[in-house]
């Protein structure tokens, strides 16, 4: 049996089309969101409750102590996981000329937003930061960070800090159960994944005397965060950027 060129090409093309069609059908039939994600951790912050306790830094101290976050003397070497920012800086798109006077200058707690579309993860060349499939946390692997600071540049919330100096001499106290970092590594809030693992809430949530920070699972309709999101109007930081931040603010 002899095959001419036309017959051969037709057959080969037909086979390729059949294979591609099968792959496409499988891809289209797959569910849109990953079924592996059984949880979605998020936080709702009641800024008014937070303000009632003027000058309170208990959450910041608890977090920084638990995670060995250094406090170098030089401001340009600053490392922070959670801090207070003036309202108009945290929410620049809300801060017009006629912003309500009671909001202007008010300190708002800010930290990593654990975005659904994290730009830091997109730019990391070593996958030292990644979005955890099962609960949506934006994780960090300090073993793998090469200190390129692409993520620092990419994060629109300033949530990432670079260790310009060896952090160990700048620790007020050492929690030996948690590692420190080294010079040349980027760090940020991890939503206390080491505490979540033990079934405990993040350190800041536990430390807040006013219970202004509410932590929970967005996948659970009965959770406290979902209840608050149903009952109250909330803001997110810079939602126009499309990063889908998962920290919600009641102002």
């Amino acid at each position: 049996m002899s095959t001419d060129r036309r017959a051969f090409l037709t057959l080969a093309g037909g086979c390729a089309l059949a294979l591609a069609g099968r792959a496409a059908r499988q891809a289209l039939a797959a569910p849109q969101s990953s079924p592996a994600q059984s949880r979605r951790w998020a936080m709702v912050i009641d800024a008014q409750k937070c303000l009632q306790q003027e000058g309170c830094r208990k959450c910041v101290q608890a977090c920084h102590q638990a995670h060995n976050v250094p406090a170098p003397a030089e401001p340009r070497h600053e490392v922070k996981w959670i801090w207070k920012e003036a309202f108009e800086h945290a929410f620049p798109s809300e801060a017009g000329e006629h912003l309500r006077e009671s909001l202007r200058g008010n300190p708002v707690l800010v930290f990593c937003n654990h975005c659904d579309q994290p730009p830091c993860v997109r730019v990391c060349p070593t996958q030292a930061t990644w979005k955890r499939a099962e609960d949506g946390l934006v994780m960090m692997d300090w073993h793998r960070c090469i200190g390129c600071r692409y993520c620092v540049a990419a994060c629109p919330y300033g949530s990432r800090s670079f260790n310009w100096v060896d952090p160990r001499p700048h620790l007020a106290s050492l929690n030996a159960e948690y590692p420190t970092r080294t010079k040349g590594v980027v760090e940020k809030c991890t939503f206390c994944e080491e505490r979540l693992e033990q079934g405990r809430p993040p350190a800041c949530v536990e430390a807040c005397p006013k219970k202004a920070l509410v932590f929970g699972d967005l996948r659970d309709p009965a959770s406290e965060v979902r209840r608050l999101l149903r009952a109250r109007y909330t803001l997110r930081r810079k939602p126009e950027l499309g990063t889908q931040p998962q920290i919600y603010y009641i102002v």
């Binding site: 102590q65 638990a66 007020a172 106290s173 050492l174 929690n175 030996a176 159960e177 420190t180 080294t182």
Partner: protein, 143 residues
């Protein structure tokens, strides 16, 4: 045979010089014996057999590291069925090898591998506590 004394003196000098390291170490009291490490009690069970740990503990630690950090799997079942929490500081050092200086460091120094950079970030539980005792009132209570 006129040069006999010179030849034998030279030979003696040569032998003396070439065996100098042996004499030197003998005089210093150093022997070829391995390092005198402080082992944990015999009733404690390690995560792997001793022979494996002696040669490949670093591989086990790297495996634990990747498992914990990248895949969030903190429970490891050892060869003997015992379940461990995979953690250098909070399991290995806190439960069994409580003296890093006399266990890890002695052997590392003896074999000339120095201090691996694990310790640039990971802490030794006891020494850290001893030097910064007041800070541990509420933080040292993790299981």
């Amino acid at each position: 045979m006129r040069d006999q004394p010179i030849i034998f003196a030279g030979l003696a000098l040569f032998l003396g010089l070439i065996t100098f390291p042996f004499w030197f170490n003998l005089a210093r009291g150093q022997t070829a014996r391995g390092p005198d490490i402080q082992r944990p009690g015999a009733q404690l069970q390690c995560a792997a057999p001793t022979d494996y740990m002696r040669t490949s503990h670093m591989e086990l630690l790297i495996q634990w590291r990747d498992q914990v950090v990248r895949r969030n799997l903190r429970r490891v079942t050892a060869f003997n069925g015992k379940v461990f929490t995979a953690s250098l500081t909070n399991t290995c050092l806190a439960q069994c090898h409580t003296n890093k200086a006399q266990f890890c460091d002695r052997c590392h120094n003896y074999s000339g591998v120095g201090t691996p950079y694990c310790w640039d970030c990971h802490n030794e539980p006891r020494a850290a506590r001893a030097s910064l005792a007041p800070a541990f009132t509420d933080l040292g209570s993790q299981p």
